[in-house]
Structure formats: C-alpha cells, structure tokens
C-alpha cells in the first residue's frame, strides 16, 4: 500500500495523526539526546564528586546529582544510548532471525511450519524474565547478554507476525499469478511477500522496541543489565530505590525518562499502525 506516490499520501496522513506526531517528536528528541550525548553532556559521567552527592535539582545540576555526585541529566542522556542500543539490537536480532523463520514456515507449511510453531510454543512457555535471569546466570550480567536475553524473546514474536502476515498474503491472487509465472517460493517471498508486510513489521518493530526498553530497564533494575561505568536508566533506578527518601529526584527522573520514551514509542507505533496497516483502514464496499 505504499507505492511512492502513496507515500506522499501516507506522509500527509501521518502528520495529521496526533499519536504519530507526538510519538515521532518524542522519539526524535530521544534520538537527538542520545546523539548529543556523544559530543556533549553537561558534566562528564565518569567523574565523581562525592562531596556533591544527592543534591536536589538546581541551576547547576538541572536534575540534581546521584549518590556519587554525578549529574543526573548527563547520566540520563548517556543512559539513553544504552537503552536504545540494547532495545534496537535485540529488535534487529529478533527480526533478523524471526522474520526469515516465519516466512520460511509460511512458504513451506507442513512439518517445518509445525516445527516452528512448536519452537514458538517452547520459547513462549518460558516466562521471559526467568529466562533472562538464567541466561545472565550463565554468561554473567551485561548489556550484551541482556540483548541476547531480550532478542531471544523477539524471535518468536517476529516469526509469528511474519508467518501470520505471509499466510494471509500467499492466497492473494497476485501471488497465484506470480506462481503461474513460474517463480520460486523464495523469489516470491522476496519480491512480493516481504515488501507487502513491511508495514506490519515496522509497527511490530516499534512495539518490540518499546518493550525492549522496558525489559532492559527491568533487567538492569535487578542488576542483570548493562554494567557500570556505562550509565543505564534501570540501574539508576535500582540505585535510587534506597535513597528515595532523601533524594527522590534520583528515582523520579530516570523513571520519567523510561515512561516518556516508552510512551513516545508506543504512540509512534500506534500512529504508524493507523497510517500503514491496511487492516485498520478497511474499505467498506
């Protein structure tokens, strides 16, 4: 549904969609903040100022300082890189493995399809956080292992979505026509199936991305996510929890950063779905 000319229509439609605009703005700001943190932060996050610890927000430290006297705004800025990286890579892993699997299962059907569905069952049967705990118990905590843990859960999600979308596309008449033109399943999948489910994948990707941010925060909160000295929102919350009585700002701002980011991504996802997903704009005939 998104041939170039229709792109323009989609874009104008997108920009009149409130969710999309708000979501895009928040997401863009987040990306901007992450990019900016590479070249500039108000304070260096590696430098400790123990005497200036736990200071409430002030003109010097807009969001206050933490238990090591680090500037919380700077920590949040640098931490956004971590959240984005973990969530993004785990989405890429999930989509990179899950989508081909789903497409393959849909194209082949039969035993392969069954095997994929059982694999999905197996992964879904494991409570996600539990597996993350086990994975990090094996490999030790850290950003990379958080990515693996989250990524593994993205695989069946994408496999399922891709399979579902592909199954609904295969009986389409243009697929039959392509088959009548002698094209192989692989070629048809690449030429026809995949491009026509991009919308759904993009929407799902946004959703998984926001879930990834939440999951990373959760893992870091229990100490299994990325490790110091790399700032991470979840770990900031973990450290803040014992100090919430005397330094509530330490818990407040990283929490808000998570909420706003996830909110932004969800809104973006909703907006994208409204704009892109043909199911949502069913034409009445």
């Amino acid at each position: 549904m998104s041939a170039p000319t229709e792109w323009q229509a989609n874009i104008s439609k997108a920009f009149s969609n409130r969710s999309f605009v708000i979501g895009l703005t928040i997401t863009a700001l987040l990306a901007l903040m992450a990019a900016l943190s590479f070249v500039w932060t108000p304070y260096a996050v590696g430098s400790f100022d123990i005497l200036g610890k736990l200071k409430p927000p002030s003109s010097a430290h807009w969001l206050g300082t933490d238990h090591f006297g680090r500037d919380i705004l700077s920590m949040i800025m640098v931490g956004s890189r971590n959240s984005i990286a973990v969530a993004l890579v785990s989405v890429i892993i999930g989509a990179g493995i899950g989508v081909p699997l789903g497409l393959w299962a849909a194209a082949r059907g039969g035993l392969i399809d069954e095997a994929l569905m059982r694999f999905n069952d197996l992964v879904f049967a494991f409570p996600a956080l539990l597996s993350a705990v086990m994975i990090t118990a094996v490999f030790g905590p850290g950003a990379v292992n958080a990515i693996i843990a989250i990524g593994i859960f993205n695989i069946p999600v994408f496999a399922r979505v891709a399979r579902g979308a592909a199954l609904s596309l295969w009986p389409r008449e243009y697929i039959l026509a392509a088959r009548a033109s002698g094209k192989s399943s692989l070629l048809i999948t690449i030429e026809h199936i995949l491009p026509n489910m991009m919308n759904i994948l993009v929407v799902q990707g946004t959703i998984q991305f926001s879930l990834g941010i939440l999951a990373e925060a959760g893992l870091s909160y229990v100490g299994l996510g990325s490790q110091p000295p790399m700032p991470s929102w979840g770990r900031m919350l973990f450290e803040a929890q014992t100090m919430i009585g005397m330094a509530p700002h330490m818990a407040l701002y990283p929490g808000l950063a998570i909420v706003i980011t996830v909110l932004g991504l969800n809104l973006l996802g909703d907006g994208l779905r409204d704009v892109l997903d043909p199911k949502m704009r069913r034409e009445r005939s």
Partner: protein, 470 residues
C-alpha cells in the same frame, strides 16, 4: 513491657545448622540463641564460658580440660553430656565432615571423655586461639540423635528454640522454658528476611520490623539518625575490606604496580561514596578495634602523582587494561565503581565484571582467575589467610608465614600484640592487596529495644540480653 521482637535480616539462611554451612545468615539466627558451644564470644569479642563451665590448660598449652555444666538439656529433651562434646568435635574433624570451618579443628589431636561432665582435648601443638575457636558458630555442640536433622529442625541447648520457618519469609524462635542458664526476657523473636535495602528502610519506617541489627543500606542511616523513634548504632565488624590483587599475575606481580594502585585510592572518597562515610580506613589487614591495631594508612596514602611515578617505574607509564571482579554486596559494587574511576585517573582501565557469589568462589577464590577483586573478609581473627598456601591472593611471604606460626603457638598477650603488629607492617609494605576499610555494622532499632550487640565480632544476633524498655 513487650516480650516479642521482630528483627530484620538481609539474607535467609539456607538451613539452620551452623556446623554444615558457612552462611553468616545461619549464625545470625542460631548463634547463642539456639545453639551453644563450649565457649562463646561476647559483643566485645571476648571469650566467655558457655556449655563449659570452666577449663584448665596444661603447662605446654596442649591439653585442655573442660568442665561441663550439669542439667543441660537439648530442646528435644535429651541430656547434654561429655558424649555430645566428643561427638561434635569428632564429627567436625572427620574426613567426611562438611564443616565449613574445618581449619578451626585442625589442631585437635584427640578428644577424650573423662566423666559425663568432663572432657579432655589434646592438641597437636599449642594454639593460642583455641578457646576463641571453640566459640565460633561452626563449633557448637550438637547431639548425635539430631545432628543429621539440624538443618531443618535445629536442636540445640540454647535459650530459644526454633518454632517455625516460613521459607523466604521469616523464622520464628521462642523462649526455651527448660533453659539451663539465665532465662531470657523475650518470649518470641521473629527474624524477617528482607534482602532489599529499600524494603528494609520501608519496613523499619512502617514499624513492621523493630530492629535491623545489620542494616543493609548505609545511605538511609542519616534518615534514621534524625528520627527519635530509632536508635542508630554504628559498630564495627571483623570485615577487613580489601582490593585483592592476583600477586602472581603480571603486572600485579610487581610490587610497584600494587603500590601504585594502593596510592591511587582515596579511602575517604571511597568510604563516603560506597558507605556514606560509615567505614573506618585501614592500612593493613587488621581490625581497628583490636588492641594490637596500628594505623598504617599513611603507608599507602592517597597520592595519584606518586602512583603515576610508580607505574612509570614499573614500566607502565601509560597504565594498562585490567579487570575488576565484583561480588554482589553493595560495598563491593559501589566501591568498585569508585576505584575504577580513580584508577582511570592514573591510566589504569579496569573493566568492571560483576559476579555472583557462586561465580566469585569458583572463579576468583578457587580458580584464581582474576586480576583484581573487592571483598570483605568477615571472619574474625583471619590475619592468617595471607599465610595460607594457595590462597586466592597468590601471596607468598616466608617472613609473614613465620610470624603467623609464632602467633598461633603463643598465648601470651603482650608477645602476641608484638607479633600482630609485625604482621600488619609486613602486609602494609608488601601490599598483597590494597587495604581499604573496616566494614561497619550499622544497627538500627527501635529506641526502646535494649541489649542488642553494637559490634559484630562474629555474625550473630545474640538475643540473650535483649529486652524492651518499660
């Protein structure tokens, strides 16, 4: 006055048999409350008689004769006598023993029953620490009938017996009416397990828990200090906290590198940052509250310029890359972050690798597969670890070993003090580890509660003297 008390403890014991597990959490529940040994250690770290009413030591220091209390009964009603003492000591020494502190019993040669209330223990060589050792939780006396089931159903001779253990939640002990000694004031005590520091704070504030003898969060302390409802006691522990270094692994095999690292660490910043100012700096491996303590922190005073110079002399002018393995406790994790930042200042890039205890024991302690680590050695009287073969520091100093050997064979206090000081100096000079601080014991309890230990000479929550003020 109230006769019940809810105490918070951070860790749940895996089981309740102190002779079969090292967890400090076991001692924190049962020591002096449920189980008793021949001797006991009090809040000041002194050795007092317990099940042994009195003892005599032979001239050569090798023969200990213990006179036992009479009319002592185990919780299951069986009588306590010399038989039980022999059983307990032999069991701990046995080849198949799973006693976590087997070295405590290593010096015992034989245990003989003289009569039901007298036991004779012969040592292989004199041991100045023997009576102290017999006061450890791992040396409590158990009955042969119940020894195998003590993990689940602990049967001791103490003033409390275990009522109920809701796993993961709490352990309830109640007064033993048949206790042989001074009756305790409390009828019932509940140990509630609260591993999460935030939850611990909340539980105290909300009054769910009335005492937290070892409060897990240093940062919340000021908040309680300001609150008249609570009494905050910052005591000492036997936990010498060190930045352990792998003395055989380059570049840490070079004294200059170790010195450089020691001089790069600002103990004040470290204590402020990791313990919110509550620890005591140490310059060697010895507790500051010990009479034989000497302050050697000046030997490794904070001096980054000197560090850089030492590093350059050692052939690392631009520093190097290394790793820092950190076990779970907050002093290690936070301290590690600060130390890593300080080392970065002198050019050493230490990658932080957090590990669980199981991994730490496996990799660092047993495997010696590490560069640097931070850990607190909480066992009392553990200066001798630097004299052990194959200990994880990989430190090997014949001079130091010799001093330790002498200490162990001496019971004279003045001589011992001199030897202790000598040992401290050797360590401060050799820097087998960077000595950081003595771990504080942050006790917080309801202002009306009396009799809890202020210090932690051994892991214990001795409730024998605890009562509510009117």
């Amino acid at each position: 006055a109230k006769t019940d008390l809810v105490l918070g403890v951070v860790l749940e014991p895996p089981h309740l048999d102190p002779t079969a597990g090292a967890a400090t959490a076991i001692g924190e529940i049962v020591y002096a409350n449920v189980f008793e040994g021949l001797t006991r250690i009090n809040a000041k770290g002194e050795v007092l008689p317990a099940l042994a009413e009195s003892w005599t030591i032979s001239e050569d220091g090798k023969l200990y004769t213990f006179k036992l209390h009479k009319d002592v009964k185990f919780h299951d009603g069986t009588a306590f006598d010399a038989q039980d003492v022999k059983f307990s000591l032999d069991r701990a020494r046995d080849e198949k023993s799973t006693n976590p502190q087997k070295p405590l019993f290593a010096s015992i040669d034989t245990v003989e029953i003289v009569d039901p209330l007298t036991v004779k223990v012969t040592l292989k060589q004199p041991n100045g620490d023997f009576l102290y050792n017999m006061g450890w939780a791992a040396a409590v006396i158990v009955a042969p009938e119940s020894a195998d089931t003590n993990k689940e159903k602990p049967v001791g001779t103490g003033p409390f017996k275990v009522d109920n253990w809701a796993k993961g939640s709490q352990i309830v002990i109640s007064k033993n009416p048949a206790y042989w000694g001074t009756p305790v004031a409390l009828d019932k005590a509940t140990f509630r397990i609260i591993p999460d520091p935030a939850a611990a704070t909340a539980a105290l504030l909300a009054g769910d828990v009335q005492a937290f003898p070892v409060f897990p969060s240093y940062e919340a302390v000021p908040q309680f200090q300001a609150d008249p409802r609570f009494k905050v006691v910052i005591g000492t522990t036997e936990g010498e906290t060190v930045l352990g270094m792998n003395n055989k692994k380059p570049p840490f095999d070079n004294l200059k590198v170790r010195q450089a690292i020691a001089h790069a660490i600002d103990r004040k910043t470290l204590i402020d940052g990791a313990l919110f100012g509550l620890g005591t700096p140490i310059g060697s491996f010895f507790p500051p509250h010990h009479p034989a303590y000497i302050d050697l922190t000046g030997e490794s005073a904070y001096d980054p310029a000197l560090s850089k110079k030492l590093l350059a002399e050692a052939g690392h002018p631009d520093g190097f890359k290394t790793t820092l393995k950190l076990p779970p406790p907050v002093y290690a994790r936070r301290g590690g972050e600060i130390i890593a930042a300080e080392l970065r200042e002198i050019g050493i890039e230490a990658e932080i690798i957090p590990v669980e205890w199981a991994q730490w024991l496996e990799q660092v302690f047993k495997g010696k597969d590490y560069d640097m680590t931070i850990v607190s050695h909480t066992e009392p009287n553990d200066l001798n670890i630097f004299a052990r073969d194959n200990y994880y520091f990989n430190y090997d100093s014949p001079a130091f070993r010799e001093v330790i050997k002498q200490i162990e064979a001496t019971s004279d206090t003045t001589t011992r003090t001199g030897l202790y000081q000598q040992a401290q100096k050797i360590l401060a000079a050799d820097v087998p580890a960077a000595f950081l601080f003595q771990l504080p014991k942050t006790g917080i309890w309801d202002a009306k509660v009396e009799g809890l230990w202020e210090n932690g000479p051994i892991p214990a929550n001795d409730l024998t003297a605890v009562k509510w003020a009117e």
